[in-house]
Symmetry: C2
Subunit: 353 residues, 2 copies
């Protein structure tokens, strides 16, 4: 990396889950939705593919932001949109985290957070989860810096109740509290209704999971107009047009099709409940999950071994080679048929052991 600066040479980037091209693979490794996107979204994207692509998109994504504002009952000035929630998170850290104060996140959390901190030179203050991987809520009170956490948490799939989030926001009146709700639409309680009451709260969402649009790259944030202005400044100092015309059109239509969202989310929650029972029946330690994924370990068989045994049978899950959670598998909720194949593959893996 000659010609690159020292910070770049020191970076340890995020590694996304594999996107392998294997026929007949049961792909349960990146929390994708097993169902297709809304037919209305597909229709809107088809209509956007054409001659109009010679023109720049709306840099302010007004139609899309209007759909978000309508959905969450906030004003246009309270909505920011970006190229996936990863980009929205990056802009939030850039705008809100103070290099002199640092930022707070859990030791077990979305593994992109420490990467943002490193990229932007923000000292990280790590809050260790309890032994059972629940959040030590009282350690999140009265912070001296920005707090960022997913709810439900990743990769544990454990959710905090709204009241706990509210207390965390209320007890940090001088610092931003950012709640990453990538997985909230599978049964957890959202904090988005609190944004009008707390100026320091920012809620971030993605269309990747619940709207089945991981391939389109759209995420958004809802918060006070002041915080949103900060995000806009950073975005407009980085890339004026992160959302293309097709993505804006598709995301707008998807957000307006709430019935479809609820239907798919309901099916996934049903499948999740059955998969949880099946895993426990196999002896797995698997806490009650509220994301579209389960986080499970087996007392007799290690995570690395199980991961490999599944992969050999064409079932791909995710495992994090990290302290405290190395024995766990993170298993996305697929269709009933896919989960059946997973359970059968696990039975064989455990039977062999």
């Amino acid at each position: 990396m000659k010609f690159c600066n020292a910070r770049t040479r020191a970076l340890d980037p995020y590694t996304p889950g594999e996107q392998p091209r294997i026929e007949n693979l049961v792909k349960l490794n990146t929390n994708e939705n097993p169902y297709p996107p809304s037919p209305r979204a597909i229709e809107a994207m088809r209509a956007a593919v054409g001659e109009g692509l010679r023109l720049y998109p709306d840099p302010e994504s007004v139609e899309l932001r209007r759909a978000v504002a309508k959905r969450h009952n906030v004003s246009l000035e309270q909505v920011f949109v970006g190229n996936g929630s990863d980009e929205v998170l990056a802009f939030a850290v850039a705008a809100l985290a103070d290099p002199g104060l640092g930022m707070r996140f859990f030791d077990i959390t979305y593994s992109f957070y420490p990467v943002y901190a490193q990229l932007m030179g923000i000292p990280a203050h790590v809050i260790a989860l309890n032994d059972d991987l629940t959040v030590p809520i009282e350690k999140c009170f009265g912070n001296d810096s920005m707090l960022l956490f997913p709810n439900p948490n990743a990769p544990t799939s454990l959710a905090l109740p709204l009241e706990a989030v509210r207390l965390m926001v209320e007890s940090n009146p001088d610092h931003a509290v950012v709640v990453d709700e990538a997985y909230v639409e599978f049964g957890a309680q959202s904090a988005v209704e609190l944004v009008n009451g707390y100026e320091n709260l920012l809620v971030i969402r993605t269309l990747s999971k619940s709207h089945a649009l991981a391939g389109l790259r759209v995420g958004y944030a809802v918060g006070s107009a002041g915080i949103i202005e900060g995000l806009n400044r950073v975005k407009n100092s980085f890339n004026s047009y992160p959302l293309d015309r097709i993505a804006q059109a598709g995301a707008t239509a998807a957000l307006l099709d709430e019935d479809y969202l609820l239907e798919c989310s309901g099916r996934i929650q049903k499948t999740r409940a059955k998969a949880l029972r099946d895993l426990r029946a196999l002896g797995f330690d698997c806490p009650e999950a509220l994301g579209n994924f389960l986080f499970a370990r087996h007392p007799q068989k290690g995570g690395r071994e199980l991961f490999a045994a599944l992969r050999a049978q064409g079932v791909l899950v995710r495992r994090f080679d990290k302290p405290r959670i190395g024995e766990y598998l993170r298993i996305s909720i697929g269709t009933d048929e896919q989960m059946q194949r997973l359970i059968e593959a696990l039975q064989r893996a455990l039977g062999e052991g």
Copy 2:
């Protein structure tokens, strides 16, 4: 902007050209291509709109990078792709500019460069263009920091010959030289053929102008494997998937359809030659342009006045309210009919004066 950090509060973001929704407007303000994208690109995007969008895109954009590599006769490891060349430029500044050394660019150049420098805390060393807006090449030799310039330059549309660029690259062996070739495919000489000879050279391109895909947001960079690795590290510390599935498919097809590119570019160059003659016949001072836009001023009528007179007649051009160039209009090359409407509107504007 309560809760935002000091750097964010101090930012002075880039302002993109307007994207107004006015019927029958002659839109010559953002250097869009007046012709539609390649029919093959349209077809590829149509095929990508569907159920597959529930899955993440390829985070490494291998197919697209392969198309870039093929086009420029380099290896896959020498190609980086991003969400428009603005994002690629942002990553290049983040990876290559050293906060201790700063970066060099012209006083009259793409106005996003100083914004990147500000966002990333990079001191700016400004090289003043000559009085006739040409580049003082000798001032670009032997720099002590990264050098970034567009060729052709924006908003002047003046291009440097390949040999001048080569000398600039050769005389800065210890620092990156980044050539922003957003407008190179309208008749200027590209430096991309030099990348195998000079490890410090990075060439950045966009599909927005020459490929008529401003609405799709795809740009790329070609350089040494070491520099490209640095860009990848920054990108993967910021957003793993900046290019959605449809954008990857459309851009790949567009790049492989070189005949279409050459045909559209040829038409634009012909229209440009006539518009240049017409403007000069109206008394405009308008240098020989090699981008898909002209940069012109009139000795009798100010830039602000001309801009307003055109706008009142439904013709939108761009004017930069900045030192040295406030009297100029930047006029994108549209169709022959659009340029005829521009010339007629200018005749009326000058007749009124």
